[in-house]
Amino acid sequence: MSKKYWKGVEELRNDAEFVRLKNNEFYENLPLDQVIEKKAQDVNTTPRRDFLKFLGFSVAAASLAACEAPVRKTIPYLIRPDQITPGIANWYASSYFDGYDYCSVIVKTREGRPIKLEGNPLNAVTKGGVNARVQASILSLYDDARYKTPISGGNPSSWEVTDKAIIEKLTAIAAKGGKIRILSSTIISPSTKKVIADFAAKYPTTKHVVYDSVSASAMRQANQESFGLNVIPSYNFDKANVIVALDADFLVNWISPVEHARQYAETRKLNGGKKSMSRHIQVESALSVTGSNADLRIPVKPSQQGAVAANLYNAVAAGTGASAIAASALDAETAKKIASVAKELLENKGKSLVVCGVNNTAIQNVVNGINSLLDNYGTTIDLDNANHLRQGSDTDLTAFLDELNKGEVAAVFVYNSNPVYTLPNGAAFAQDLTKKVELSVSFSDRPDETSAVCNYVSPDHHAFESWSDAEPRTGIYSVGQPTIAPLFSTRQAEESLLLWSGNPTNFHDYMAAYWSSAIFSKTSGSWNKVLQDGVFELPAAVTKNYKTSANLNTAAETIGKMSASGFELVIYEKVGLGNGQQANNPWLQELPDPISKVTWDNYIAVSPKDAREKGWKQGNVVTVKAGTISVKAPVVIQPGQAFGTASLAIGYGRTVAGRVADNRGVNAYPFTSLTGGNINMSVGGVDIQKTADEDYMLAATQTHHTMMGRAIVKETSLAEYIKDPKAGNEDELLTIKVGKGEEVKKKAGDLNLWGDFDNGNHHWGMSIDLNSCIGCGACVVACTAENNVSVVGKDEVNRSREMHWIRIDRYYSSDADPKEGESGDIKKMEDPSDMPRVVFQPVMCQHCAHAPCETVCPVIATSHSSEGLNQMTYNRCVGTRYCANNCPYKVRRFNWFRYTDNPQFDFNMNNDLGKMVLNPDVVVRSRGVMEKCSMCVQRLQDGKLTAKKEGRKLVDGEVKTACAQSCPTHAITFGDYNIPDSELNKMWNPDERSYHLLGELNVQPNVYYQTKVRNIEEGKEA
């Protein structure tokens, strides 16, 4: 029943190299030669007496040094703001939008420093969810690469000088009627839009051009053609029984991922005896996070996407009696699958959803047609309450680039975007900007490729230093307030624009005035209440059913012309870096890609089949050539990649971002193209050639920490689960010899070597629902932020020394037996491993009651608490690492180096600014000690103290670990076993889905998992 999982193709193939690594916890020989310098080679000749002398000296020196303690100053406020008590956190509702990711957040500040973000549960769009990139944005605030002053002609300048020069030039340009263009990413702030309108009123030749680095312009155009509405709809994944996604990574990247992930998870949960769940079909080329969660995944080449849409339309149309459109034939297997998908969709008319992430108007029109036939508008798709998160227009962008190229544009203001890096032809843009424009101003708060070529930089505040408002969906507002005084001499972009248009008000007053006149006039509201809650809502419009009026035959004709020869290259977004604007953030660089588990790099992902045929190996450096564009990048063999395709992530290859990001990986944007009116994220006819270069070192967390092939993720199908809720969760029975030759089978839990612990006032524990976990990595970044987890860099990750306290294991499935593989049945192994099923499993310290680590520690640095925690006491640890060796879950992390104030690890902990993000309630660990998940004991202690002070019981759900708090899909539930009706107790049901990881060991973890259930019928489909 239970499937075999591999952490990588190496494991599946059981390579000799892999076996060697698997049997050796330490990836390579310990680098003793690095530790012991060359001089010490003659260590034998060093007389023992010298050693004693040194010893004696150091004891004396230590004693002398200890006699005089340093004098420490303590400097209280002169006039303490009454809301600030040193040592107590303040929380402020705020809002984050960087033109790409949106989240309504609550910012935790300590002594005036924002240190952690949590989702704002009051917000109707994100509902308390925060993704990895927004979690990490708090560190981007403390990036020491940020601009510290305005820049004029590449040199630091003052605001007076810059303002004077810009206003003079603007006035001159306006006087002669020169064109002024504001180029920005999507703006969802109504106040900012008004500021831009004010600016345009002052300088009437101004036009605002909006473009998105990852464009959804085709959707807006298609909706204009289909329904006369130039909008992107809001989706209700939670109302859909069948979800079909055509190249849309909607769980982690596409348009509003936090919202989608939560809605999606609601349809996947099987809590409280629920016996139904949605069915998710993903059609895509590269294996995305969303695709890895799908029940059925149909790999297609990018050039086939249109044909898939048209064929699906025809199959649905056949069921509803609508007329067919022209569609080119698909291969038999895909056609069969599409037909069955159409059948499922038709069975769920009005309760299904087809989404498409291809930036192509014709395909989007056909997809609109499918949804229209299925009556999905008004139920799962809401056109009346539009989503505002992608407003870019590729048409406007094309027109602007044309104007710019002709030299018609006199002034360009670049706001919240980095066109030199993200445009398909950024180099040409940079040339035009420097040579054909009189005035170019960037508002970027940190150096980027565009600000580097602008005449002036008027650095904006970071989001958490600014006032802002946002309207992510029609009628849903959130506001952002500053949580720290500006760190540098920066000024909010809106204030700059206002000042230059002759209105020197501060943006807060401007915004408050705008709200009272434009928003509170619709529904009464109070500004203070809005600031406190961070959100405001107008009554939602009634959502209606729409029927497409676009000419689908024209669309089908356009689709029919799409073709590509040879290899096709897919450009995609990674969970960590996204569009690359936060590339200089070490937390995001070190976040492993959920699928490949590679950190710090992008790479060419190819399918195992293609790799075999072409003779590519993991890490080989290849040249990828498409037209005139050519890059060198390493190969990653990626199961699930559609045959004949390769994929490369954007976000890397920055050149002007800061020392963390610069020249890491390659820039994939040049492979995109602005042809046919839209930015295409794929390119055909790609030539990939292996080079003679030495293999590239890819730092992956992938094949490390093996679970030695044991069944650790339990899985079943929905049909089996309905028959027997314990399906897939069979107990591990151990054979015990009794008497002479008699054998009995016993549950591991019945065999105890140790006695039980007495429970204290609490008994903490955690439940992880593998059905809801989408592998997005938000928990990893949240844990890093909460617990001062060090960034170790690529080299150290490569040595398996990453410090993350929580990791998300990803396993590929296969029906093949690896033993058969050894005997040579390669063909049978090939199919499943090329297109595998994927499971994600977050693993942190399991806080075992009978912890193997505790019994081996020679200095009792790790011990058990009466509250069910496995405690790690850093100041007691001497670094024997016995505990890590004895931990069956491999969750302990050793500090091989001091990662603070160490130029060898020049990340955020090596400068005063970056250290401002540290949580003062958690110790920064030093070299030579072991560390691991503490179940956020500082948060537990804090919650307990609050309850004690108020003289009341601790309420279930009042305290949460950082991972549980941040999980957008609520896959992690934290709680207290001692509260009888706690969520944790309700979910613990070993007769159904609950199980302990490696239960046969009977280490009695306080963390348990819930079996993963897929909505498939075993044997009926692949």
Binding site: S63, A66, C67, A69, V71, R72, K73, T74, I75, P76, Y77, L78, I79, R80, T85, P86, G87, I88, D758, G760, N761, S863, S865, S866, E867, L869, Q871, M872, T873, Y874, N875, R876, D921, V922, V923, V924, S934, V937, Q938, Q941, K944, L945, A947, K948, K949, G951, R952, K953, L954, N978
Partner: protein
């Protein structure tokens, strides 16, 4: 001990007598002082300008009759258009003096007190404080007594040695024995050494043991700053504020009620009182002026300037980062008095010092022995019952029994 006792008694007597003499000379002023302090001190002082004018010489400037009217209802006097009254009102930022429901005799008593006060010489600054608040002199150090005892013993042994020597010679002379050859000091010591090997061995063993034990303890004290009492930028006296004036600790260290850090009070907390109290009994205006300087405060105008500079206190209690300590847990939940760890600050610390060693052993010992009182705190309800059934009686429940020795209570 007795000396201190006597000193105290004498001081007390002198104070009582002087007060008695003073009260005899001005019975009115005695009531007047209480009334003045209750009603007037928030705006007036005798010799300095505050919110209102200095009152020195008021009896000469205005008639008693006018003053009674003015003090009882200043607004009424202003309405009459009295020239002096209007000028005073305008000079002092048009802040009206509130009306006081005082009887004529009471006003007279206040005026008498003011008169008595203005005749007193200016209080000398620092060093010669007024009677009752004399800081107690340091007690006679014990070594002085030891020195005296040692010299007496030395004298005694010298005298006895001399006596023995004389007696021995007399005996020798009487019995006609020859005088022994004179020995050098070194020879006599060697002689003694040879004849007393056991004693020497015992002394050596004793010294070695003593040295090791002493050495061990002194090594242990490395890095422990017990008794650390650094000089502070402002000579703030805990004895005066917390002791004599009985200001509760958490009035200033208010963080102790709320969370981890008790905190050094911000200067605005000082100003709650020192806006009015502009002269201290020990240091006069010198130290209080430092607060004003930090806040750029002009006491005459009552305004704050822009050139504010924070006060850089020296931190006394430096817990290492690896240990988490929360004041609220101990002070609010555990109801531990501040003095348990910080010592009798109000009685003996002019400048605050580190009273306790702040070592882990010290923490642990307290957690082992301190009994917890869980009754009345609903947080502990079920747990309390569970513990009682296990341990039997409340008196057996210590911090240890509720997990107070577990590592992750303090180390994370």
């Amino acid at each position: 001990m007795s000396n201190r006792y006597i000193t105290r008694h004498i001081t007390f007597l002198v104070t009582v007598i002087s007060i008695a003499l003073f009260s005899f000379t001005s019975a009115n002023a005695q009531d007047g002082e209480a009334l003045f302090k209750a009603n007037c001190t928030s705006c007036h002082a005798v010799k300095e300008k505050m919110i209102g004018p200095a009152l020195k010489g008021i009896g000469n400037r205005r008639s008693e009759e006018w003053l009674i009217k003015w003090i009882k209802n200043s607004q009424a006097v202003l309405k009459t258009g009295d020239e002096y009254a209007v000028k005073i009102f305008n000079d002092y930022n048009k802040v009206a003096m509130p009306s006081f429901g005082l009887k004529d005799e009471e006003v007279k008593a206040i005026l008498a007190y003011v008169k008595a006060e203005e005749q007193k010489p200016d209080a000398p600054v620092a060093g010669a404080p007024a009677g009752g608040t004399t800081p107690v002199q340091e007690s006679q150090p014990i070594w002085l007594y030891l020195l005296i005892a040692a010299s007496i013993l030395y004298l005694l042994s010298a005298v006895l040695g001399r006596v023995q020597h004389t007696l021995a010679r007399t005996v020798r002379q009487n019995e006609g024995l020859p005088e022994p050859a004179p020995k050098t000091r070194w020879e006599s010591f060697r002689h003694w050494f040879r004849n007393n090997k056991k004693l020497v061995a015992v002394i050596l063993i004793f010294l070695t043991l003593y040295g090791s034990v002493k050495g061990w303890y002194s090594l242990q004290s490395i890095g422990i700053s017990q008794g650390y009492t650094p000089e502070q930028p402002i000579a703030y006296s805990h004895i005066l504020h917390a002791g004599d004036l009985q200001i509760p600790c958490v009035y200033c260290h208010s963080g102790a009620e709320r969370g981890k850090v008790a905190g050094i009070p911000s200067a605005n907390v000082c100003m709650n009182c020192h806006k009015y109290v502009r002269k201290g009994p020990t240091t006069g205006t010198a130290e209080i002026a430092k607060i004003y300087k930090a806040l750029d405060y002009d006491p005459d105008k009552g305004t704050y300037g822009p050139n504010q500079t924070p006060i850089q206190w020296v931190r006394v209690h430096n817990l290492p980062d690896l240990a988490y300590f929360n004041h609220a847990q101990h002070y609010v939940v555990g109801k531990v008095a501040c003095q348990t760890c910080h010592g009798p600050v109000q009685d003996s610390m002019t400048v605050a010092g580190q009273y306790s060693p702040l070592t882990m052993g010290w923490c642990i010992n307290c957690h082992r022995t301190t009994k917890v009182n869980m009754a009345g705190n609903a947080y502990y309800n079920d747990f309390h019952k569970q513990l009682l059934s296990k341990y039997g009686a409340d008196s057996l429940l210590t911090v240890q029994t509720i997990g107070g020795l577990e590592c992750a209570r303090c180390h994370y």
